[in-house]
């Protein structure tokens, strides 16, 4: 599985994606590659084009309580670009997913973990509630990798 942590570590909770990617990288799980990305959409498509199973972790602003987790099975439902308004990219996560869907370039398995951010001010570090959810997401993705590996491969 490829886990892409989207965000900017210098903008508070926007760094939650890279935080999760780094934690997963440190676990050195067989069958898992973790990387950081800025969230530029064509970059995401090119990164996941070599993988069958992909998880994307990003901060979201949906109006939910800070730290809330939204897990999306992308193959089952379209996603809203308004949710990923944390990015200044003109072509971001939601656009990448919908573009890949139209072109038949969605990975077989693509989950998006959106974590509601509390603060996107300048500076490093996550708010506590966001970090707690991020730690849960690390566990959840690690379990998914194990489950997929047991079924014959999470690549």
């Amino acid at each position: 599985m490829l886990c892409i942590g989207v965000g900017n570590i210098y903008r508070g909770d926007d760094g939650v994606g890279p935080y999760v990617a780094q934690r997963l990288q440190n676990l050195q799980l067989p069958g898992l590659v973790a990387c950081e990305a800025s969230g530029e959409g064509t970059d995401l498509i090119s990164r996941w084009s070599d993988f069958r199973c992909v998880a994307v972790v990003d901060a979201v602003i949906s109006g939910a309580e800070p730290g809330a987790l939204i897990e999306l099975d992308v193959r089952a439902q379209p996603i809203l670009s308004s949710m990923f308004a944390t990015s200044t990219h003109a072509f971001g996560v939601a656009e990448a997913v919908e573009m890949a869907r139209i072109l038949g370039q969605l990975p077989e398995y693509l989950r998006i973990y959106g974590i509601e951010g509390a603060s996107f001010e300048h500076g490093c570090g996550l708010t506590q509630i966001v970090e707690e959810t991020a730690d849960q997401v690390v566990q959840r993705i690690a379990a998914e990798v194990e489950r997929l590996e047991a079924r014959g491969g999470a690549d």
Binding site: E40, T42, D43, S46, A90, F91, E95, M99, I102, L103
Partner: protein, 429 residues
């Protein structure tokens, strides 16, 4: 008396956050504002007190799309300040990494942000449904650009391998050779890209612009040259501050530029192309002739063709550099700080990016000034809109609004870049 306003609160398909306001009174455009409201980011302020060696990595953070431009302008400025010249293969590698950035940036803009405008689609996703092979080619062209930046720059987002004096590590010959097949595919496919964009329908619109770009005696410009214009400007880059003036306007958190005692000017692909056509290699000139844009291009909507021609150039130039590449003995030249002021001006994908630094004898930055291309183009964009809307008043409002946005996207504005530099004054009592 009738008054009509065109208002776009959030411009779509531009990098960063901006809006548009046009006021029309009795069939006359009376007010045009390209509103830039992204918060200022104060990079120049926090560069002060840092080491001269940190400038490339700090300024690269100004933009996720064109970090190489920031790295290149900063290293050239710092090297001038300390009296160092980087030459030979290290210089060539700097051109090579810039090729990668032009490819990434131009391809993203042409396929994902601008082409849908011309074909009547709300976005690239809708366009992909009808032009899947075209869009797939765009994605692959972009991916190859990413790969090139990764190989030379260490990673594709905010590359970490560029330093004052050269690089931390230079690629092996083999590492570059493995890119060749993809680059050849990219060169062939970017010819198709030129043909595709040249076949788009273009609004009739031309103005008498003053184009400003670098010009080098031997090559299409990336990192070096004099600043020239089609109206007689020909200066060393160190004369930038005496020649151009930046002004704060109320509706923008980015400074607007103009030529002193003249007016707005135009930077970017169209300016480079019109001022340096003779420096393009034969393959690019031949394709330009084939699609009928081998003379000066004064319709900014046709910048999409010029971006495609520059993509072809970048692929061709990358292949030329790799073919001649021999890894240098050392990845960088020795650098020692000394007090002074240095100037750097390089051609970012969107146009000239100017840096000026003053450092002390220990290399600590005392003063920094950065003029990004989008800030320089702001006034020209507003003038375009004023003329364009005046001529297109008969269009239905939704179509006029659409074409106004398209006219802004002609400049591929990067608003996130443009707002790094607002001066903040705090008055305390």
């Amino acid at each position: 008396m009738s008054t009509q306003t065109i208002k776009v609160d959030y411009l779509a398909r531009v990098e960063g956050e901006g809006g548009l306001f046009v006021k029309i009174k009795d069939d006359w455009v009376t007010d045009v504002k390209l509103k830039i409201f992204e918060p200022p980011r104060f990079f120049e302020g926090f560069l002060r007190g840092r080491s001269f060696t940190e400038a490339p990595d700090i300024t690269a953070r100004i933009c996720g799309i064109c970090p190489i431009a920031y790295q290149m302008s900063s290293v050239h400025a710092m090297e001038q300040a300390i009296g160092v010249k980087v030459d030979g293969q290290l210089r060539a590698l700097r051109r090579l990494i810039y090729c990668g950035e032009w490819i990434e940036s131009h391809v993203l803009h042409v396929y994902m942000l601008h082409a849908p405008d011309f074909l009547g689609y709300p976005d690239a996703i809708a366009m992909a449904a009808d032009y899947p092979e075209v869009v797939k080619n765009g994605l692959r062209l972009k991916k190859i650009g990413n790969h090139l930046v990764t190989v030379v720059g260490g990673r594709e987002i905010h590359p970490i391998n560029v330093r004052v004096g050269g690089f931390y590590r230079v690629p092996t010959k083999r590492e570059l050779q493995v890119l060749v097949d993809d680059l050849k595919w990219g060169r062939d496919t970017s010819i198709e890209m030129v043909r595709f964009t040249a076949g788009l329908p273009f609004p009739e619109f031309e103005r008498d612009y003053e184009y400003v770009a670098l010009r080098h005696p031997d090559e299409y410009p990336y990192n070096e040259g004099r600043l020239v214009s089609n109206k007689g400007l020909d200066i060393d880059i160190s004369a930038f501050d005496q020649t151009f003036v930046e002004e704060h306007v109320e509706h923008s958190t980015a400074l607007q530029s103009m030529i002193r005692e003249r007016n707005a000017y135009f930077v970017g692909p169209l300016a480079r192309y019109n001022l340096n056509y003779d420096k393009l290699p034969p393959i690019v000139q031949q394709v330009a002739r084939e699609v009928g844009v081998d003379g000066p291009v004064n319709n900014p909507f046709k910048s999409i063709i010029v971006r495609s021609l520059e993509t072809l150039f970048a692929y061709d130039e990358a292949l030329r550099i790799i073919e001649a590449y021999e890894p240098p003995e050392k990845p960088s030249v020795a650098i020692e700080p000394r007090a002074g002021t240095g100037y750097g001006c390089t051609e970012a994908p969107r146009g000239i990016l100017y840096h000026r630094y003053t450092i002390d004898d220990e290399g600590i930055i005392l003063d920094a000034h950065i003029a990004p291309p989008t800030a320089q183009n702001q006034r020209t964009i507003e003038h375009d809109l004023r003329y364009f809307v005046q001529e297109a008043l008969d269009l239905p409002k939704d179509q006029l609004t659409w074409q106004c946005e398209q006219a802004i996207r002609n400049y591929d504005p990067c608003i996130s870049c443009s707002v790094h530099s607002l001066r903040l004054e705090i008055e305390r009592e």
